[in-house]
């Protein structure tokens, strides 16, 4: 197992900059999730670490060694892709054995067979071993793909949205399984996804990538509660953090568009009275109360079983609130609400940066 470091990595394709000055550290044995929208540069990052793509500038270290001029095989990483990574002509067993049969490993047949069995058991695909892979279901295929990665002991596991082609239920099940697998192996995982739920539920650390730039890294808790800017605030949480533009006025948050004046905690020094701000509040920090300071109309109700997600409108502004499922609300009803003043996050109205960062 190994740690990975990227130092000032930039990748350009022609005149498109896919990654810009990326600094990233992944410590030995952690589950690191790189979260980003489509086109953010997630796959490019993985491919560069694997050696399939060369950075335009910057360095990549595996276990402290600059791997810049190492070949793909020498880097000894495992790569699991969203699709297409199994050899269609081979059976599951042949697919699992393929990495072990590489001439650079010089393993004898008995060892190979034994390691294939072990990996198959771990992933509960031993009953599929003699099937052709093109006859497998999506979930089974991804299990085999993961199996092909764990069958040898690579230094790091690189996973490119391995679950995103699966249906929701399977995704959830495999998520748990994958996390357990990582804990049991004590392996270093770099997992990329555009799904914030995956990121939040599996990661030891999350890195949020926006258009080729790393915006924030931190534990899921840090990223969730202390987003460095409005982009991160909207990248995690479902629904994401509400962002309401306004001003501070005598210790109150004045949101003119919504006609709201809400209490809030002590503002940071940079938030001068009168300067334009964005107030961030998580939907779960909004509650419906009879004599609360805010007033809004219920625009939409989504019932999620244990909770309801309300879309509320005040003036021209729409925001979400998560309330208990037994709350008595109806569409178009006008309600009063409060928010937790201690949980308000202040962002600069111009730059979108968190005013309490650093």
């Amino acid at each position: 197992m190994a740690n990975i470091a990227l130092k000032g990595v930039t990748k350009r394709f022609g005149n498109l900059t896919a990654l810009k000055d990326l600094d990233l550290e992944i410590t030995d044995g952690e589950f690191f999730v790189l979260l980003g929208r489509t086109g953010a540069g997630k796959t490019t990052t993985l491919r560069m670490i694997a050696g399939l793509e060369e950075p335009t500038s910057g360095q990549i270290f595996i276990d402290g060694q600059d791997v810049g001029d190492w070949g793909v095989a020498e880097r000894d990483v495992a790569l699991v892709l969203q699709q297409y990574s199994l050899y269609p002509r081979y059976t599951v067993r042949e697919n699992l054995a393929f990495p072990l049969k590489s001439p650079i490993r010089r393993l004898d047949a008995a060892t190979i067979a034994q390691q294939v069995e072990r990996a198959a058991k771990t992933l509960r695909i031993d009953h599929l071993l003699d099937r052709k892979v093109d006859k497998l279901s999506g979930g089974e295929m991804q299990r085999v793909s993961i199996g092909r990665a764990i069958v040898r002991n690579p230094r790091v596991f690189l996973m490119d949205e391995p679950l995103s082609a699966l249906d929701a239920k399977l995704r959830e099940a495999l998520r748990t399984e994958l996390k357990n697998l990582q804990v049991n192996l004590g392996a270093t995982f770099l997992f990329v996804t555009h799904d914030q739920v995956e990121a939040m539920s599996m990661a030891d650390h999350i890195g949020v990538l926006n258009e080729g730039q790393l915006v924030q890294t931190g534990t899921p808790h840090e990223v969730y509660n202390h987003p460095l800017n409005t982009f991160v605030a909207q990248s995690v949480g479902s629904p994401p953090m509400n962002l309401l533009a306004g001003k501070l006025d005598k210790g109150k948050a004045l949101i003119a568009e919504a006609g709201l004046a809400m209490p809030c905690r002590a503002a940071p020094a940079q938030a001068n009275a009168g300067s334009s701000l964005v107030f961030g509040v998580r939907p779960e920090d909004i509650s419906l109360e009879a004599d609360a300071p805010g007033e809004a109309r219920i625009y939409d109700i989504e019932n999620h079983g244990v909770e309801k997600i309300l879309t509320m409108r005040a003036g021209e502004t729409t925001f979400a609130a998560t309330v208990a499922a037994n709350s008595q609300v109806a569409i178009d009803e006008t309600v009063r609400f409060a928010w937790n003043p201690d949980k308000i996050v202040f962002f600069d109205g111009e730059t979108g940066n968190n005013l309490q960062a650093g």
């Binding site: 793909v72 095989a73 000894d76 297409y84 269609p88 002509r89 393929f98 990495p99 001439p103 040898r152």
Partner: protein, 318 residues
């Protein structure tokens, strides 16, 4: 889908079957004609109106393979009885088999046929082999000016080849390549290479490069990944391309006629050259033509599944 048939379909089916049979008959008729001629007795072959029913005989094939001369005097009864059946057949036609030290001499046909085989097989292997590697390079690597190169490669096929026949002939004569196997092999490889590159590139483009990248990550080199992953995945393309190359080389007439005279002459210029010598022996020519048809038919038959999938590639794949 199967159970529900509309009225139009019920009527359309027999009609389309009849149409298919008709078209097939038209296309197969020349083959039937040449095939039946190859088994006809000599006097029946050119009868007017044509004879449809006759006692088939194998004599034309015996004649095809042997060197013969007009009988000056009839063989004695012992000689006739001692001769094997095929020699008797020749005697029956008023000819004898020319022998050297007791062994019958072969006609030129077998050597021409073998020349055709050598030249076609070798040039096909070369064209498809080099074409596959070139196509792989174009498909997988960033080649500067790739589109221009590919256009250039294709452009070699835009000119009717015969246009360059005379300069080619002069070049070949200078280099001593006329009437050599190597010369024809180079020529046919060059003909087929351009379209082998184009066809194979289409096939290789369809193979996701993720397979090879996975193999690289799994600890294989680029070459190993090519042999283990790309080649098995492209057998269909290789089969289709091979058949096309083989047919083109096998049937090529114009250059073979100009460039070869004896040693390396292939069957296509040889067969018609037999028409010119004396009274044309139509049955023998027909027999030579029938045998000439066989390799392509056999080759195509063996690879038919690949060929069908190959030419409709992309359209019905998955």
């Amino acid at each position: 889908m199967a159970a529900v048939t509309s009225r139009a379909q019920r009527i359309g089916r027999p009609v389309s079957i009849i149409a298919i049979l008709l078209v097939t008959a038209i296309f197969l008729f020349p083959i039937y004609w040449i095939g039946s001629t190859a088994f006809k007795p000599r006097n029946v072959a050119t009868s007017v109106p044509p004879t449809v029913f006759f006692q088939p005989e194998i004599t034309p094939f015996v004649k095809l393979f042997t060197k013969r001369a007009q009988l000056r005097e009839q063989p004695t009864q012992e000689e006739y009885d001692a001769a094997p059946w095929w020699e008797q057949a020749i005697y029956d036609g008023g000819e004898r088999v020319i022998k050297a030290r007791g062994e019958p001499l072969l006609s030129q046909y077998p050597s021409r046929f073998i020349n055709s085989l050598i030249v076609s097989v070798v040039s096909t292997v070369l064209a498809v082999g080099m074409g596959t590697l070139t196509a792989y390079g174009f498909s997988r690597f960033r080649v500067p000016g790739a589109d221009d190169w590919l256009f250039f490669i294709l452009s070699t096929r835009m000119l009717p080849p015969v246009v360059v026949a005379i300069p080619m002939f002069l070049m070949y004569r200078t280099f001593g390549l006329t009437d050599t196997h190597v010369g024809l092999i180079i020529l046919y490889t060059a003909f087929n290479l351009s379209f082998a590159v184009w066809l194979m590139r289409g096939f290789i483009d369809e193979i996701p490069k993720e397979y090879e990248e996975a193999a690289l990550v799994d600890g294989y080199t680029r070459i190993q990944a090519f042999y283990k992953i790309v080649l098995p995945e492209s057998v269909t393309g290789i089969a289709a391309t091979s058949i096309f190359s083989f047919i083109i080389a096998w049937n090529e007439y114009a250059f073979a006629l100009i460039m070869t005279t004896r040693r390396a002459q292939t069957a296509p210029p040889f067969i018609p050259s037999q028409i010119g010598s004396g009274l044309p022996e139509w049955t023998v020519i027909a027999a030579g033509t029938v045998l000439f048809l066989l390799p392509v038919a056999i080759f195509t038959f063996l690879l038919r599944n690949h060929l069908l999938r190959g030419v409709t590639f992309g359209a019905i794949r998955k």
